[in-house]
């Protein structure tokens, strides 16, 4: 009998871990949102990041570990605009967590609070993997991050009312630093205006819209479909007609297609960090844009 009690106590200790210490436990779908939550929430939040910069956020599986994580958080922060539509709805349903249901305050979609680009006029799967709500990669425009941070810090205050003043202070501080940084980045990137760049996937729409860079073409013939030889040939033609500065891709995209185009056109390939953690030097959102602009200017390999 005594043995059974000991075993039971041991198992309970193993399974029912004590509630986490932070005031808000956050599940961030992508590293950029984890970084923003940490800027705004400081020590009152504890953040788990579901994906890394080396994983394609369109193609994540609803893994058991992710379900277990959502079960125990009070806030889910994701890009939205159907970026995570293959896995997040399933995670939310399986986790059985009332707080994080879409529509409740524990569910936050960053793309839903900003204007989106690339909203398709005609929805048809023959156009590739298009998102009805527009391009979801909104974090690559720092002006949109500014708007998102304002809605997000208010949300943190709704969930943890005792921390309201704290979140307001953190937001004011972040916002001031962020706006200074934006001015600086815009200055540094002024020479990029009007430049033409070939992209792998249209992840860069918001960044280029902000900096006035033109997308000369995409390696994917249709969003989500891999490059073909015929498509690369047509890209070569585009490149020959009007000069292109570089070919860019994210850390999670295979550089093979970019290399093939580079070989036939002699245009340099640049891997941009895409999100926090996408390069060793990128530890937060500030680093992300600083390094991205340096790489676009060719100041850093």
């Amino acid at each position: 009998m005594k043995n059974w009690i000991q075993i039971f106590t041991f198992l309970s200790a193993l399974f029912i871990t004590s509630p986490l210490m932070a005031n808000i436990n956050v599940f961030a779908c992508e590293p950029e949102w984890a970084s923003l939550v940490n800027e705004l929430g400081g020590e009152r939040v504890s953040t788990y990041t579901a994906t890394t910069a080396f994983q394609d956020p369109h193609h994540i599986e609803a893994r058991p570990s992710l379900i277990a994580k959502i079960r125990r958080v009070n806030l889910v922060v994701c890009s939205g605009a159907e970026l995570e539509s293959g896995w997040l709805p399933l995670l939310l349903k399986q986790a059985g967590n009332k707080n994080t249901r879409p529509g409740n305050k524990g569910y936050f979609e960053a793309a839903s609070v900003v204007e989106r680009l690339d909203v398709p006029v005609d929805l048809d799967r023959s156009s590739g993997d298009v998102h009805a709500s527009g391009n979801p990669h909104v974090h690559l425009d720092p002006r949109r991050i500014q708007i998102i941070s304002k809605v997000l810090f208010n949300r943190l205050g709704d969930i943890d009312p005792q921390g309201k003043t704290y979140y307001q202070q953190r937001f004011n501080d972040f916002s001031q630093r962020w706006q200074q940084a934006i001015l600086q980045w815009q200055q540094q990137a002024s020479e990029l205006k009007g430049q033409r760049i070939v992209v792998h996937h249209r992840d860069w729409v918001y960044l280029f819209d902000w900096l006035g860079i033109e997308i000369a073409g995409a390696l994917e013939p249709k969003p989500g479909l891999p490059a073909t030889i015929g498509h690369l040939a047509s890209l070569k033609k585009i490149v020959m007609e009007q000069p292109v500065k570089m070919i860019v891709h994210t850390p999670y995209q295979n550089p093979r297609a970019a290399q093939r185009l580079a070989k036939i056109t002699n245009i340099p390939i640049v891997e941009l960090p895409y999100t926090v953690g996408g390069s060793k030097q990128v530890k937060d959102l500030f680093d992300l844009f600083t390094l991205t602009i340096k790489k676009l200017k060719g100041e850093q390999q």
């Binding site: 570990s65 059985g96 204007e115 799967r125």
Partner: protein, 404 residues
């Protein structure tokens, strides 16, 4: 700091500084349900034309080796949506040809709670049971054209039943889920809806987690039991025109264990990934088998002991292309008072152990289309068979989920 004192370095008019402007809300256009249509067709080529059997098992449900030549597979039409903030609902029909007639089968029709809270989810209606790993996967999500032999023999491909499921996700650091199901028990492998339509039960436990960023796993244990009134197996033509249908009544109890391991470099499964999957089930039955339609009535007592397992591995070696290998094994050791009747009912395995090896290669042009070639060396009964399948599976409509 007041918000209007913030000097925004944003050119005016480019962006509206609004919180939740309605024009910004995500584009869930209307209240129509999500519709998803799956089209599936095959071409089959078999090296022998004997009637299919699995010695030691009564076949039922969808159990068959498929058809030769051009034929339609599992064409599925599915509607689903949130009903309100409490419930989700789904209906799936399968439109299939059976001997020249088009039949519409109701495969799923259930509601499920969205947010009871505390990790509890309740599901009611007709649904795929959550026992095992493969059981709740729709056929279009299978990695091979046909079901593994253990699912074919034990469940007639899949355990689908009408009832109620309660599951609880335990709030642990790793994944730990418990569930029970109470079912009607009318469909194969139960049968007869014993106990006034409350004749079958299941219980399951699932564990899972990650190992580093590149590996993920899940382990499950399952139990199913049923009180069976009349489980009819496939009819059996006998000497000119009498048709005898072996029918079982008694107890049935099944236990299983399933395991899945997945790997992809840095957890980025788009480029490359590997999946290793195995399941084992064993079943004990105790009752009587009658050959309905025989004259005089022939019957026997029946104590069944059946078990089987499969091991399969799927490797995506480059985007769009996957190869796979599966090994199946089944064995039965059934006893009865009249071995001749047992033999007639297909429950005598005649000393044969069923085995099958399959290889497959598939190409997915996008997430929505797949073309597959599969070759199996099938020794599930005495006449060794080589099966070749070519198949396409495409999905139209709602974006499917990337299940683990």
């Amino acid at each position: 700091m007041k918000k209007n004192s913030i000097a925004l370095p944003i050119s005016t008019g480019m962006l509206i500084l609004a919180g939740l402007n309605s024009s910004f809300a995500a584009n869930k256009a209307n209240f129509n349900p999500d519709i998803s249509l799956t089209l599936d067709a095959r071409y089959g080529s078999f090296s022998n034309n004997s009637d299919y059997e699995l010695p030691g098992f009564m076949l039922g449900g969808e159990a068959s080796r498929g058809e030769q030549g051009f034929n339609l597979g599992h064409n599925e039409l599915s509607f689903s949506n949130n009903i309100d903030d409490m419930f989700f609902g789904k209906l799936t029909t399968v439109i299939a040809d059976h001997e020249g007639e088009t039949e519409v089968e109701l495969e799923e029709a259930f509601i499920e709670t969205l947010a009871m809270g505390n990790g509890i989810t309740i599901k009611a209606g007709r649904f795929y049971s959550d026992i095992g790993y493969m059981n709740n996967q729709h056929p279009h999500a299978w990695d091979f054209t046909d079901a593994s032999l253990v699912y074919r023999g034990m469940f007639g491909n899949q355990l689908i039943d009408d009832g109620l499921q309660v599951s609880w996700l335990v709030p642990t650091e790793f994944y730990f889920k418990l569930g029970i199901e109470a079912m009607r028990g009318e469909r194969f492998p139960a049968g007869g809806a014993a106990n006034d339509g409350n004749g079958a039960y299941t219980a399951f436990a699932k564990f899972g987690g990650d190992v580093g960023v590149s590996h993920a796993w899940q382990l499950g244990f399952s139990h199913w039991r049923a009180d069976i009134e009349n489980r009819a197996a496939e009819s059996h033509a006998h000497e000119a025109d009498t048709i005898e249908v072996p029918t079982y009544a008694g107890e049935s109890s099944l236990n299983g264990v399933d395991f899945v391991w997945k790997w992809s470099p840095n957890g980025n499964n788009r480029e490359q990934n590997l999946k290793l999957q195995a399941e084992y089930f064993e079943r004990n039955e105790d009752g009587n088998v009658v050959l309905e339609g025989s004259s005089p009535i022939e019957e026997t007592t029946y104590q069944g002991e059946q078990s089987g397992w499969y091991l399969q591995s799927i490797y995506q070696f480059m985007p769009r292309w996957r190869v796979g290998y599966r090994y199946d094994y089944l064995s039965a050791n059934n006893q009865g008072s009249d071995s001749a009747v047992l033999m007639e009912a297909g429950l005598d395995n005649e000393g044969h152990k069923a085995e099958r090896s399959s290889i497959m290669l598939d190409y997915s042009h996008s997430e929505y289309s797949r073309i597959r070639l599969q070759v199996s060396k099938d020794d599930s009964y005495e006449d060794s068979d080589t099966l070749i399948f070519m198949q396409y599976i495409v999905t139209l409509g709602a974006h499917g989920a990337h299940r683990f």
